[in-house]
Amino acid sequence: MKEKGGKGTFLILEILSPAVAFLLALAMGAVLILSLAENPLHVYNVMFRGGLGSIDGLGYVFFSATPLILTGLAVAFAFRAGLFNIGGEGQLYMGAFFCAWIGFTFPSMPSTLMVPLCILFAALGGAIWGLVPGVLKARFGVHEVINTIMLNFVAMLTTNFLVNHVYKEPGQMIPQTKEIATTAWIPRMAPLLQRLHIQLPTSNPLNYSLLLALMIAALAWLLLFKTRLGYEIRAVGLSHKAAEYGGIKVGATMVLSMVISGSMAGLVGVNEVLGYRHRFLDGFSTGLGFTGIAVALLGRNHPLGVVLAAVLFGILNTGALEVDIFTDIPRELVMVLQAVIIICVVVGDQVFRRWVSRRLPLQPHAGFFH
């Protein structure tokens, strides 16, 4: 039923709608900045210069985008199966802890075994935390939204307990585990980039986890659009009844989608533990799982879109620190912007859809991911 003209209009819709939403959010942010008697142009200038004005800044943008690619993919992947995973926050805490536990428990393991095992356990931690709401949804029909939120709290409390009472670094006030073995470290990208004449300072935390995140994005695309499983996942996302009629096991597909989604969020631990801090710090995530929702929506639940949106949010996050230091606007401005972006995207989406459906003989969509 897709006509040629229809596809072109759709492409415009897919790109224009998020772009307009982003600009609209910036405009609303400007009103907020004006209300605090600051100049929005100045604040936005500081913000974008922070991330885009230097090689060092760009390094921070990609470092900050790394976990957001993963949490964004986690949300987008579940979305495709018609599931809303807002448990990324809990999944990444479990993943990071599992990852660190391997890292400091088996210090004599060779690096070639250590790093893959740590990565595997990061995915495993997230996967378990995705499995529970998946099973509860498939078996009992409990909506995954409440359960994933509840599990966020349970994960934070569990890791808080483990860090403070079981694995706390002796003689330290900071609630963190001891350092992982150096064989588990993922190196920074600065040395390589310097050899390629990109003068990224050695102090920049950007590390090879970025490549892992990009690889996962490519795998997610392959899985969703080029395999039978991906087809089944998307079929379940579109209609349970139709999928079931087509012989797809709806329950099992939902559980598997949540497990894959959770493991993606769990991999955030690789960047945090192996690539950056080299230990588990209690409460390290500043809402990365929730920002993933905005990333997924802005990226149209498509792996490529997610990567682009994550980089955009990386720019905002890096800029937020500069804004905090160099202007009288708090960094929480970015949190507000993120929420406004989501609202603008979903509203813009509906408006565009209506506009399109008035011109093309298409069914109006009932909901965002239906």
Partner: protein, 303 residues
């Protein structure tokens, strides 16, 4: 041995949950899924503290919480009812907005985004005569006025929903909007009413949260909006059922305070309400039927 104080403590803990859950009942009965309750609670809690801070009168704080709750719910209503966007995505966005906006404004007012200064709370009400009755007085008397307001609102909500024309219409648009529309009920208007009432109620719940502790702390709603939704489902979308379920969750929350220091790590005690929510939900679903049209936008042209 758990002392008697656990009963009044349970009632206190159940109050913000009950107010939010009542809000959930109104919203979902009208057909709008409202996970924005969490954000409304948070915004209400913050507004109550700021308004009390500037006016010196906690009742002004309560009024501000109700107004801000209403405005927060209005965003959810515009996005879901007018623009017909996905209810859950909208709710998540409103929650994130509340999280960011309260921290942003907290920074503006108090110079840090983590917590507010201490404010006055509402002075407790002692019920004459009842307070002198040995055990009963201890349980029923001496609570924050909002506790009694909440109890009254449970009764009022039941009356409104099941004994008035307004309630019948509200439930009709949540069950079968097309039929209601055919009978001349304004579907959009009723859904706005449902969501806005939920804003008022959850805003009030937020006021109780922060005025009871005399502070605003970032993200102090702590999942209560979601627990309230679970209570609403467990209570089969009725005011009495939801209030009963909230008392259960209030008891579990109160239990935490009495179990602390008893050898069990606090983290595990703090997990109880969250885990209980999951268990309760898993056991409730299937036995409880949600309003038929809940979560579905009303599209005249599509039906």
């Amino acid at each position: 041995m758990i002392p008697l104080e656990i009963i009044p403590a349970s009632i206190r803990m159940a109050t913000p949950l009950t107010l939010a859950a009542l809000g959930g009942v109104f919203s979902e009965r009208s057909g709008v899924v409202n996970i924005a309750l969490e954000g409304i609670l948070l915004n209400g809690a913050f507004a109550a503290v700021v308004a009390t801070h500037f006016s010196g009168n906690p009742w002004v704080g309560v009024l501000a919480a109700v107004l801000v709750g209403l405005l927060t719910a209005l965003i959810h209503a515009v996005v879901t009812v007018t623009f017909k966007a996905d209810h859950i995505v909208s709710g998540v966005a409103v929650n994130l907005l509340a999280l960011g906006a309260t921290q942003f404004t907290c920074w503006v007012v108090y110079g840090n985004s983590g917590n507010s200064d201490r404010v006055l709370g509402l002075s407790p009400w002692n019920i004459p005569y009842v307070e002198q009755v040995p055990i009963l007085g201890q349980i029923l008397s001496g609570h924050s006025p909002l506790v009694y307001v909440a109890i009254f609102l449970v009764l009022l909500a039941h009356f409104l929903l099941f004994r008035t024309v307004f309630g019948l219409r509200l439930r009709a648009v949540g069950e079968h909007p097309l039929a209601a529309d055919t009978m001349g009920v304004k579907v959009i208007l009723m859904r706005y009413c449902g969501v806005l009432i939920s804003g008022v109620l959850a805003g009030l719940g937020g006021a109780f949260l922060s005025l009871n502790t005399h502070y605003f702390v970032k993200n102090m709603s702590g999942g209560r909006g979601f627990i309230a939704l679970a209570a609403m489902i467990f209570g089969k979308w009725t005011p009495f059922g939801a209030a009963g379920a909230c008392l259960l969750f209030g008891f579990l929350e109160a239990l935490q305070m009495f179990l602390q220091g008893g050898g069990v790590p606090t983290q595990f005690i703090q997990m109880i309400p969250y885990l209980a929510t999951m268990v309760v939900l898993a056991s409730a679903v299937g036995r409880a039927t949600p309003p038929a049209a809940v979560g579905r936008p009303y599209l005249k042209e599509a039906d």
